[in-house]
């Protein structure tokens, strides 16, 4: 099989990459190992993600499918009197703010919709597991090898391999293609989650009390829960804590989740008086990492495949969609011959991707390290800039005054003037003890297998 672009992974990064490449006249082959529809976490979108979907012409379909329409995020803090609301916003052509909505997405349905669109738009879908890369005559990445459902091996030769494999970080795990994969600052965290029926929903008639909003319950540093409506009856719930805390409780993941839903915050208990779980309880440990050198001749990673920080601001799908969008014209130029002889033809795009996520990292780190300062910046000093940040507008008009403020508080500088300072994983720069790398061939094969050992 031969094609211009082969995409590894049929989730939002892969499907959106295909859709944006269709607009450039390219029809990638998509390789996906799981039959769809399939369960997946990462259910809340930002304004920027909603904008990408609208730009793809999907707004009507999103409404037609009745995905809950998120108006904002309400955060319940430690003190009883405190809750914060961050609205979903857009910026018009004059850069004026306007109230907007976006969506909460049951990923089995959302990912299925996107993948169907990609196939409908002309991309061939190959069901199988990629097992390795092919090398062209120059020794560069020149395609992938796929193990098919019947056990046979299929070679797909391509000018470009797009790794959209999500938390599996496939290319990084192969070794010999990308740079090293570093543990992220939140790698000691673990997320335990499921879905419930019968939760009490907001319904006060205002944007702030809209029943489809995300609710966040913050107990203390590194200990919080999400509440994300998926339809009129079902809510996705998750608890995020240090792994050590979970392990010392010595509970099954189900018992742990049910107990935390009752104990983590009174406002959460009020909304879920009895935990009626309608989905398995899933776990994701060690979800935070950064792959360096994630692009080069013949390959590029998009979305979770190269980096993930923390779920609390719901940026995962946003970053996947925006990176896919930004990559498409760059890929088109590459296929037309641009920068073919450079060591990394995608260096500029790679840097822009890292700079964007670095912004999220600085905001996230300040949120955990100095939450009171964070609240003052968000709700008093830099409200508009923070509205942009939460909306996911991180690739334009940055660094903003808010970002300068966070970096001043963290005493952190970001210079991108050389390889040594170029987006060094904060986890390893400020905590050298974290520098050890996750190794290719690590024992942790899957989250469920990991859970089985405990």
């Amino acid at each position: 099989m031969k094609t211009e672009v082969v995409i590894v992974g049929g989730g939002p990064a892969g499907a959106a990459s295909a859709l944006f490449l269709h607009r450039e006249g390219i029809k990638p082959i998509l390789v996906e190992r799981e039959p769809f529809p399939r369960y997946h976490i990462g259910e809340s979108l930002t304004g920027a993600a909603g904008k990408v979907l609208r730009e793809l012409g999907l707004e009507d379909e999103m409404y037609r499918r009745r995905f809950p329409t998120k108006q904002g995020v309400k955060v319940f803090g430690q003190s009883e009197r405190i809750s914060w609301f961050v609205p979903v916003t857009g910026r018009d052509e004059n850069w004026q703010l306007f109230p907007w909505d976006t969506w909460q997405v049951r990923r089995s349905e959302f990912d299925g919709m996107l993948l169907d669109r990609a196939v409908g738009g002309g991309s061939q879908l190959v069901r199988g597991q990629t097992t390795g890369v092919l090398r062209n005559s120059k020794g560069d990445v020149g395609g992938v090898q796929v193990r098919m459902e019947d056990g046979g091996l299929q070679e797909i030769h391509a000018d470009l391999v797009l790794d959209c494999s999500g938390q599996a970080t496939w290319l990084a795990g192969l070794g010999g293609v990308t740079g090293p994969k570093y543990l992220g600052s939140y790698d000691k965290q673990i997320a335990i989650f499921s879905q419930v029926r019968g939760a009490v929903r907001e319904n006060g008639g205002t944007r702030e009390t809209h029943p489809d909003n995300t609710l966040i319950f913050y107990q203390k540093k590194y200990h919080w829960a999400w509440f994300i409506p998926l339809d009129a009856e079902t809510v996705s719930v998750g608890v995020v804590i240090p792994a050590a805390y979970f392990l010392e409780k010595r509970e099954t993941k189900r018992d742990f989740l049910v107990r935390e839903l009752s104990e983590l915050h009174p406002e959460l208990k009020r909304r879920i008086p009895v935990a009626d779980l309608v989905e398995d309880v899933h776990v994701i440990p060690n979800y935070s990492y950064q792959v360096r050198g994630f692009s080069g001749r013949g390959f590029m990673c998009i979305g979770d495949a190269h980096r993930f920080l923390d779920p609390i601001f719901s940026f995962g799908v946003t970053v996947a969609l925006r990176e896919a969008q930004l990559a498409a014209p760059v890929i088109k130029a590459y296929l037309n011959g641009a920068k073919r002889d450079e060591a990394n033809p995608f260096a500029e795009h790679q840097l822009a991707s890292e700079v964007g996520v670095d912004i999220l990292e600085d905001v996230l780190d300040c949120f955990w390290e100095q939450p009171f300062t964070f609240a003052t910046f968000v709700h008093a000093r830099y409200t508009e800039h923070m509205t942009d940040m939460f909306a996911g507008r991180i690739y334009e008009r940055q660094p903003s005054p808010a970002l300068h403020g966070f970096r001043a508080v963290l005493k952190r500088q970001r210079t991108y003037d050389g390889d040594d300072s170029y987006s060094i994983p904060i986890g390893s720069r400020y905590h050298p003890e974290r520098a050890p790398l996750w190794q290719a061939g690590s024992e942790v094969e899957s989250t469920e297998a990991w859970m089985g050992r405990h």
Partner: protein
């Protein structure tokens, strides 16, 4: 009203409602629950609007706001820094 009294007055009237009847300058505002994230924000706004002092971003940290005396001392240092730089500029 001097700075320390103005701050103590504001905290007693606006933040410590129903809590500390008597506010001592060295009371740990965080530990006693008088200061929460909303309270810090209100205090920063009070300092900006009523004392006319802009607290630089990197100083908006809980350590400078832990007690009335800590805050008063911080503002005195800030005043000194700002006078120094104005003096240097002049």
């Amino acid at each position: 009203m001097d700075t320390q009294s103005a701050i103590a007055d504001f905290i007693t009237k606006e933040l410590a409602i129903g809590r500390a009847k008597e506010l001592h300058p060295d009371d740990d505002l965080l530990a006693t629950g008088v200061l929460d994230s909303l309270g810090l924000m209100q205090l920063v706004l009070f300092i900006e609007e009523h004392l006319g002092v802009k607290v630089p971003d990197e100083d908006v940290v809980i350590e400078n706001f832990r007690s009335v005396s800590a805050l008063t001392a911080y503002l005195a240092r800030l005043d000194g820094r700002q006078n120094e730089s104005e003096g240097a500029a002049a």
